[in-house]
């Protein structure tokens, strides 16, 4: 059987790294997890070499939903590229919106009205809660708990309703515009957001009782996939994955953009860097998101939601720009190169998931298959964002 597999795999570019060591010594089993597999949330393929249930090597294989977002940026005008941003990471679409819009604003020197900044913060943080909730549910689904994801969806529904009121969509938002946001928020939005914040604060203890304190979950998370800060740095991990290892790096604090320097929030960090720490960091971030939303709602100024006199056509001057924001998965960076034409000359998107996934090969080595699933889940991967 193993030889058969071997001959079938030799033609495959991606198994080449397994190369000579793929030679079976009777004990190992090369297993394809994905591209269609319940644990990979999308079309990620992981080639694993198993010794019994232990993983000798794991190799993530990308590219199954590569949609050439970067190349698309070069054939669309600056404005037309906006809707692409909601599709790169469909779970935290507004952060990507923000990263691109912010980059163009920086390049063209467009000033954003304060009201728009606050609206952006509120909606972006709500979207972050949304993303973390989905991660929470999906991660528990990976661990075999079926029910939490539906509780998470019940809460997500409220956020989606709120965001739908201002953006009109429920998942792939295209809400931010150069110089502001596309629509103003009304009192109804503010009222419902406040309501949600109050409700969600009451829901969080239930989450803790049902899942976080559960001994089975703790057994599946504690001391698994320990990521040292040194290793996280080496791979360029960001976001909760990095913070779980105890490095308090958050773009919102390290390179404050928008009005984040005026807001008071903590950056939760872990200590050991295991799966449980990454889990706890995300759960703690839910609290912080609520804090930020509350503060921003209190301080929401009046005024225009978009810069009043914007040019008819957006043609930035020659030059290059890099703008980074903190997404739910980590640092989202957009690099733009303008040649002064109607379209970007080059678009480079730095997705946090890509760096976080690259950790997996090293983290999964020597773990049990079940732990690898847990580790993969704890990295909070959104495959379209990795492939772009």
């Amino acid at each position: 059987m193993s030889q058969d597999v071997n001959s079938r795999l030799t033609g495959d570019f991606y198994t080449a790294p397994f190369g000579p060591r793929l030679e079976p010594d009777g004990d190992t089993l090369v297993l394809n997890m994905g591209p269609q597999h319940p644990a990979t949330h999308g079309v990620l393929r992981v080639v694993v070499e198993l010794d019994g249930e232990y993983i000798r090597r794991a190799e993530p294989v990308l590219g199954y939903i590569h949609r050439m977002h970067e190349k698309m940026g070069e054939v669309k005008t600056w404005v037309q590229y906006l809707p692409n941003m909601g599709r790169v990471d469909y779970l935290h679409a507004l952060a990507w919106n923000w990263a691109y819009v912010g980059a163009v604003e920086k390049l063209m020197g467009i000033e954003v009205p304060p009201r728009a900044e606050y609206i952006r913060v509120i909606t972006c943080e709500l979207n972050r809660i949304n993303s973390h909730l989905l991660w929470w549910g999906a991660y528990l689904l990976d661990l075999g708990a079926f029910t939490p994801i539906l509780y998470a969806f019940a809460d997500r529904e409220h956020i989606m309703d709120i965001l739908q009121m201002v953006t009109g969509s429920r998942l792939t938002y295209c809400y931010y515009r150069f110089g502001g946001v596309s629509g103003d928020v009304n009192d109804e939005f503010i009222r419902r957001t406040r309501e949600f914040v109050a409700d969600f604060k009451k829901r969080l203890p239930m989450y803790r009782a049902l899942v976080t304190d559960n001994i089975i979950l703790r057994g599946r998370c504690e001391d698994i996939g320990v990521l040292t800060p040194e290793m996280a740095r080496r791979y360029g991990a960001t976001g909760p994955v990095l913070r779980g290892s105890g490095v308090a790096y958050d773009v919102r604090r390290a390179e404050p953009y928008s009005i984040y320097d005026r807001l008071d929030f903590d950056i939760p960090t872990g200590r050991k860097g295991d799966v449980m720490d990454r889990y706890e960091v995300r759960m703690a971030e839910l609290d912080q998101c609520l804090r930020i939303v509350e503060q921003a709602l209190d301080a929401l100024p009046t005024g225009a939601h978009i810069h009043p006199d914007l040019p008819e056509r957006f043609i930035p001057p020659k030059g290059e720009v890099y703008y980074a924001v903190e997404g739910a998965r980590g640092k989202i960076g957009v690099y733009l190169l303008s040649d002064g034409g109607p379209k970007p000359y080059r678009v480079k998107l730095r997705s946090p998931g890509f760096s976080n996934l690259s950790l997996f090969a090293e983290l999964a080595q020597g773990t049990l298959l079940a732990d690898a699933v847990s580790i993969l889940g704890s990295l909070d991967l959104v495959i379209p964002e990795i492939d772009r």
């Binding site: 059987m1 089993l29 297993l31 597999h37 319940p38 644990a39 198993l50 249930e53 528990l140 689904l141 990976d142 661990l143 075999g144 708990a145 079926f146 029910t147 539906l150 509780y151 019940a154 049902l210 899942v211 559960n214 089975i216 979950l217 057994g219 599946r220 049990l368 298959l369 079940a370 732990d371 699933v373």
Partner: protein, 329 residues
């Protein structure tokens, strides 16, 4: 004519054949009912209605599913060992029928009066492991093979605490006859073994969940790791048979727990069989409740629970029971 028929039926062999036929009907009905119940429980726990569209409150959904499963094409994967592949579902479902035989629904309503009923159930339920092995091996699929390996390790390990807890009760009553054990607990609630042997009950129930591969011990079919484990490659009614066998084993485990620990048919007002069924299904409901609440344990944790907790506790319980029984004598 009727007299002859009655005579034929009262003959042990005739009784057994009648019982087997009745059991098969019961299993089929039961499989459908439990599948519906499981979805409804899952739905209600997750605050949704569950099946709702086919028939009033989705009551006909099991029939729709059965129709779908029956009408689907049976596919054997390329390179599979056809014989083993097709025989595995049969091996998994056939022993369950036998397992139902000695279950005493009431003092009289039992398929076969055998004084080794408990042993019979234990012996034949062990065959399920074999079926999983054959399915995993015959499928020519790595997930199936891993699932089968897990299934074997799991059921072999959990058979020990199961036996230990059962033995404790058998020691106490001094019989391996399920009817006799149930009959010994008919003096009201206080005589139920769940109060006399609470530890044995807990061990039995946990091991029973593990033996039937139910969550949180559903590792052989852990879908996030092994897609569907040993039945990854099965389609149509072959999958349906595995499914049926799984639910039937659930009923067997819960029925045995009822007879051993919950006083069997003991209960006021209603006739015994209803009480027996009610207790059995209450236990099944608990199993479903567990499934929709807990995450799955990891494989080494599963074995740790068995070897570090259940077996020592079961042994201690058994020794204590033996000592007390001896002392009382």
């Amino acid at each position: 004519m009727t007299a002859q028929l009655l005579e034929l039926l009262s003959h042990p062999l005739g009784q057994m054949i009648t019982a087997l036929a009745a059991i098969m009907v019961f299993m089929a009905v039961n499989g459908m009912a439990l599948q519906y119940a499981e979805r409804k429980v899952a739905g209600f726990i997750q605050r949704r209605p569950g099946p709702y569209e086919v028939g009033p409150h989705g009551l006909l959904q099991p029939f729709a599913d059965a129709g779908k499963l029956i009408s689907k094409q049976l596919v054997a994967p390329l390179g599979a060992d056809r014989l083993l592949f097709w025989i595995a579902p049969l091996v998994s479902v056939a022993p369950v029928v036998v397992c139902f035989l000695p279950i005493p629904f009431s003092p009289l309503l039992t398929g076969m009066n055998i004084n080794l009923g408990l042993l019979l159930i234990l012996a034949f339920s062990g065959l399920n492991t074999l079926a999983l092995c054959l399915a995993g091996w015959g499928s020519n699929n790595k997930y199936s093979l891993l699932g089968a390996a897990r299934a074997v390790a799991q059921s072999v390990a959990y058979e020990i605490p199961l036996l230990l807890s059962v033995l404790a009760v058998a020691f106490q009553v001094g019989s391996l006859d399920l009817a006799a054990i149930a009959a010994s607990q008919t003096q009201g609630l206080l005589s139920w073994n769940v109060l006399v042997q609470p530890l044995a009950f807990i061990i039995f129930f946990i091991s029973g969940i593990a033996e039937t591969n139910r969550a949180p011990f559903d590792l052989p079919e852990a879908e996030s790791e092994l897609t569907a484990g040993f039945h990854t490659e099965y389609s149509g009614m072959c999958f349906g048979i595995f499914f049926l066998a799984e639910y039937s084993y659930m009923v067997v485990v819960c029925a045995v727990a009822t007879a051993l620990f919950l006083g069997g048919w003991d209960g006021p007002v209603f006739p015994g069989p209803w009480w027996f069924l009610a207790k059995t299904f209450a236990l099944i409901f608990a199993m479903m409740w567990f499934r929709w609440t807990f995450p799955r344990v990891r494989f080494d944790q599963l074995l740790n629970i068995c070897w570090k907790w259940l077996i020592p506790l079961g042994l201690a319980n058994l020794v204590a029971t033996a000592a007390i029984v001896k002392w009382v004598q």
